[in-house]
């Protein structure tokens, strides 16, 4: 190895070694998940419009994936430290996008969640989640010396509070909760004082009834369905009851792709997006569901490893923020359709159909690769 390295130019050597550190495992899991999403999206689209509908859904996902992959490689090849220098503009952009969405957004299920441009819907809340991970990582890294102080907690909380409030008012309860999860996860991993965190958590829990009060009626009704879905199986909990039936009907090996009766007959609400896991469970059964969960588990594990091996606090925080985000989304999305979490609109990462989500996530994976590739000092 030494002889070859010695004859190489510095830059070439560095670049070659950097890409050699490219985390293939992480990339592989992401590709598998996207593949899952394409296949399940085909089935969900098939339910709505036959084979044509299925193909169109899959093709759209692949187009978004292609765009996302370009962004992924760009993000991966840029040193993530650049992001730190851009923290303020990034934060400003997040606030601007979310404010804009709230003001002129297109109504989707009664909430202003996206902005339509050139015929495409942009859900800026998706990219905001990733950007807020970066902002918070920057902030926490900059306060590395005072990490245990209450002021750090309060500062991070305030930084997160504004975008959380903006999405909550859209109203997009799901994304607001993801923001909170990112905050909690990152504070915990930053080494913040457990005592102060517990105190703040207590205060938040005390304030929860207030937040619940401010929800729309339909949101509140859906939120509590999971406690007893059969209280109102034809009304607010209809979706959940149908989802549970679908998951249960999947059995051990499922009913086969595009053969899930609940899915194909339209009993599942928004089956290509928030309820996509129901289609997986119904059509591919327990076996398929477990395979999907294992891939997710491996993905989280890889991100943890990248975080552990990160060169600095910034890299670690970025990794752990994204890990928190993904873990939370997986738990809530899957938990929702199997009746152990309240029904909130949170997409299943990589699998749920949606351009904004896909591009944002591949962007995030690009940053992670960058963290990974910059983990070690180059050897000369």
């Amino acid at each position: 190895m030494g002889a070859v390295a010695a004859t190489s130019t510095l830059v070439d050597n560095v670049r070659g070694r950097r890409w050699r550190a490219f985390d293939l495992q992480l990339f592989l899991y992401v590709v598998l998940l996207i593949g899952f999403g394409v296949v399940m999206g085909y089935s969900a689209g098939f339910a709505e419009a036959g084979a044509g509908g299925g193909l169109s859904q899959s093709v759209k996902t692949l187009i978004w994936t292609s765009i996302g992959l370009i962004i992924f490689f760009v993000a991966a090849s840029v040193d993530y430290h650049w992001l730190q220098t851009l923290t303020v503009p990034i934060y400003a952009t997040v606030l601007a996008l979310l404010t804009l969405t709230m003001l002129i957004g297109t109504s989707l299920f009664g909430a202003q969640m996206s902005i339509t441009m050139a015929g495409l819907d942009f859900q800026f809340s998706e990219v905001s989640k990733v950007l807020m991970v970066v902002v918070l990582a920057s902030f926490l890294a900059s306060r590395r010396e005072r990490i245990g102080k209450l002021s750090t907690l309060v500062g991070a909380g305030l930084l997160m509070a504004i975008p959380t409030f903006l999405v909550f008012k859209q109203p997009d309860l799901g994304t607001a909760l993801v923001f909170v999860a990112i905050l909690v996860g990152m504070l915990f991993m930053s080494g913040a004082s457990i005592g102060w965190m517990a105190l703040l958590a207590g205060a938040t829990v005390a304030a929860a009834p207030l937040a619940v009060q401010s929800l729309q009626d339909y949101q509140r009704a859906r939120l509590f369905c999971f406690l007893d879905p059969y209280a109102d199986p034809q009304g607010a909990c209809y979706q959940l009851v149908q989802a549970l039936n679908a998951v249960g009907s999947g059995g051990l090996f499922g009913q086969g792709l595009t053969a899930g009766r609940q899915n194909q007959l339209g009993f599942l609400p928004v089956q290509s997006t928030d309820f996509i896991f129901t289609v997986v469970a119904e059509e591919l059964g327990f076996a398929g569901s477990i395979v999907l969960l294992v891939i997710f588990g491996l993905l989280i594990w890889r991100i943890l490893a990248i975080g552990w091996g990160a060169r600095d606090m910034l890299g670690m925080m970025v990794a752990m923020g994204l890990a928190s985000m993904l873990l939370f989304q997986i738990m809530v999305n899957v938990g929702m359709v199997i009746g152990i979490m309240p029904v909130t609109g949170i997409p299943l990462p990589f699998v749920t159909y949606g351009g904004s989500s896909m591009i944002s996530l591949l962007f995030a994976m690009g940053i992670l690769q960058s963290v990974r590739m910059h983990a070690r000092k180059p050897t000369f």
Binding site: G191, R261, Q262, L293
Partner: protein
């Protein structure tokens, strides 16, 4: 890149917190997996069953309605495919309803308000299909199909509808409308009452004729199939048949459609000739009670009902004073006139009021026994006939002879004999709307606020006037009992059940109502009288027909109502029977014709029967009288 600090681990990473994070993730994933195991593997069957229950719906499998054949196996009721426009209210936005209905009405060439009325009247689930117009043309069905995109909720379905045929298989509902009846949409009350029998909200049910009385046989039994429905409630694919539909049974009428045609033409000829509005001809096999033809004019077209009659057409039928929707042969009652002398005569013989040979004086006018002098009842022959015995009096139809019989019998015995011969009670024929009629009785008098009937009324009842009213079928059936030796049969309209090609597979048995409690001698006396009506008496102008067997019968007229054209209008009757085989003694054909309210002299019913017999037996027609001159025929 040249930063020499690069690669330095300055991360304040805490292994404990990494482990905590990892453990938390592992616990969460395990929880998800465990819950999935519980849902899918442990309780999977239960959820699958519940999912199936929630997304399937039991849909009725309609059974094809039974066909009907005439007694020769000619199809007279068949099912033909027809296009029906249906609407699924759930798929039709309220704000587009008017526009869509107008367009459908335009394409189907019907009144859109009728469509709206049917849609509004429907009370089922919005996912059920509401039939709003049946029997649209193929052309209209295609046009509506082409515009499906712009007509949300509108579906055109092919449904079987009833088609009523004549003796030659032509679509003609008027030939047998009163026998066959028709089907119509079930109403809410009936649905509530019959819902458990498997009727559907948009179902059809027999409304008249045998379609109504044989509803159970014709309808069959609906089956059910389990269909998968989509989230909007629309039934899609069939999962399995829960119960097969049992097709309705095919029926064979006792009626011969060709004879029905001839009887209809004969009656139409007579009615046209003298300008009548209503008439009845019924033909029966007196041995079995089988109805061979049953004509009530005017008739209606039951094919108009098959696809839902329009309000206008229905109003025309309802407002017609001749009441075409009523089967006058069984649903209306008329004074029988002299034909009733059979009852008075047989009763007098049986009760010992007279004997067959005993002559009684007859009069131009009969003094009512307990009335002031001079209050008398005329004979139709104001000169009187001199002394007559029973057969002679019956043959010439002497009124004063039968006045005396009736008065001697008294109201109770006359009424009992009338009831015994089937008057004052329904015959039990399986057709809807049969009337019982009126027979003179003390009960009747008491209902009028009197102790007893007046003697004058009693005398008139003896000749079938005043307090006697009968259906043409009752009269025919009493004469059939005379002809067959004293068996009062229940008139039959359906002969049995057949296979799909009209071959009898199960014959219904003729049913005896009762044996007439009269001696064969006395029945024979009355039969001789009826024969003499033709040979020497009243109906002599039918005598020379070269019929296969000896014809016997009785004429009758009954005046009623106000004078028109200087003449009291009257009903005329002719009832007769004969054996169809040369040399046979048992009559196998009995016929009655009733003509309503004529104002020309003569008995048009007799002429109608004559015409009918000539046509049915293929005789020369030279004996038919000029219909403009019935004066040759004695008017009683």
């Amino acid at each position: 890149m040249a930063d020499l600090n690069e690669g330095r681990h300055d991360t304040p990473r805490s292994p404990a917190r990494f482990i905590a994070f990892g453990v938390a993730a592992a616990v969460l994933f395990t929880t998800l997996g465990g819950r999935l195991f519980q849902l899918q593997v442990v309780n999977g069957d239960q959820y699958a069953a519940e999912a199936e229950a929630m997304r399937t719906v039991e849909v009725a499998l309609r059974s094809p309605r039974g066909l009907v054949f005439d007694r020769q196996g000619r199809p007279v009721v068949v099912n033909v495919p027809s296009w029906t426009v249906k609407i699924r209210p759930a798929d039709l936005p309220a704000e587009e309803t008017t526009q869509v209905l107008r367009r459908v009405a335009e394409l189907a060439e019907v009144d859109w308000r009728a469509l709206r009325a049917r849609l509004r009247a429907f009370q089922g689930s919005p996912f059920e299909l509401v039939p709003i117009e049946r029997g649209i043309s193929r052309q209209a069905a295609l046009l509506i199909g082409e515009e499906a995109e712009r007509l949300p909720g509108v579906v055109v379905e092919v449904e079987p509808v009833r088609q009523y045929l004549d003796e030659l298989g032509r679509v003609d509902g008027r030939l047998l409308s009163h026998v066959l009846g028709y089907v119509g949409p079930i109403n809410l009350q009936e649905f509530t009452d019959l819902g458990t029998d498997g009727y559907l909200r948009d179902d059809l049910i027999g409304r008249a004729g045998i379609e109504a009385t044989f509803e159970r046989e014709l309808r069959g039994t609906y089956g059910t199939e389990l269909k998968e429905r989509d989230a909007r409630g629309r039934p899609l694919k069939t999962i399995r048949t829960v119960q097969e539909a049992k097709p309705g049974r095919n029926l064979m009428l006792t009626v011969d459609a060709r004879m029905q045609r001839i009887a209809t033409q004969s009656l139409q000829w007579g009615m046209r000739a003298v300008g009548l509005q209503q008439g009845v001809t019924i033909v029966m096999n007196p041995q079995t009670g089988e109805i061979l033809a049953m004509v009530s004019l005017p008739a209606y077209d039951n094919n108009k009902f098959a696809t839902g009659i329009s309000v206008d057409d229905y109003a025309v039928y309802l407002n017609d004073p001749a009441k075409p929707l009523r089967n006058h042969g069984i649903a209306d009652i008329y004074p029988p006139g002299s034909t009733f002398k059979l009852v008075t005569g047989l009763a007098a013989l049986e009760e010992g009021v007279t004997t067959a040979g005993r002559p009684w004086p007859t009069y131009g006018c009969y003094q009512i026994p307990d009335a002031p002098r001079g209050q008398c009842l005329f004979d139709w022959n104001r000169a009187g006939f001199g002394p007559l015995n029973m057969t002679q009096a019956y043959a010439v139809s002497s009124d004063t002879f039968f006045y005396q019989m009736a008065v001697a019998l008294g109201v109770d015995r006359l009424g009992q004999w009338a009831n015994h011969l089937g008057f004052g009670e329904t015959s039990g024929i399986r057709l809807p709307g049969e009337a019982a009629g009126i027979v003179a009785s003390r009960e009747w008098a008491r209902a009028q606020g009197r102790e007893d009937v007046f003697t004058g009324e009693l005398a008139q009842a003896g000749i079938g006037q005043n307090v006697v009213a009968v259906t043409p079928l009752q009269l025919l059936n009493a004469y059939a009992a005379l002809a067959n030796g004293g068996r009062l049969m229940e008139p039959m309209i359906v002969r049995g059940e057949t296979d799909d090609s009209g071959r009898l597979t199960k014959a219904y048995r003729p049913r005896l109502i009762r044996r007439i409690d009269a001696s064969q001698t006395n029945l024979q006396t009355m039969r001789i009288g009826a024969r003499e009506v033709i040979t020497t008496g009243h109906a002599y102008n039918i005598r020379d027909l070269r019929l296969p067997g000896a014809l016997s019968g009785k004429t009758g007229t009954a005046e009623f109502g106000e004078r028109r054209r200087g003449v009291l209008p009257f009903h005329s009757w002719f009832v007769a029977y004969l054996p169809s085989q040369a040399g046979a003694t048992d009559a196998d054909l009995a016929v009655v014709t009733f003509s309503y309210s004529a104002v020309v002299p003569g008995n048009v019913s007799l002429e109608v029967v004559k015409y009918f017999l000539q046509e049915w037996y293929g005789l020369e027609r030279d004996l038919r009288l000029d219909p403009r001159d019935f004066s040759l025929v004695a008017a009683n």
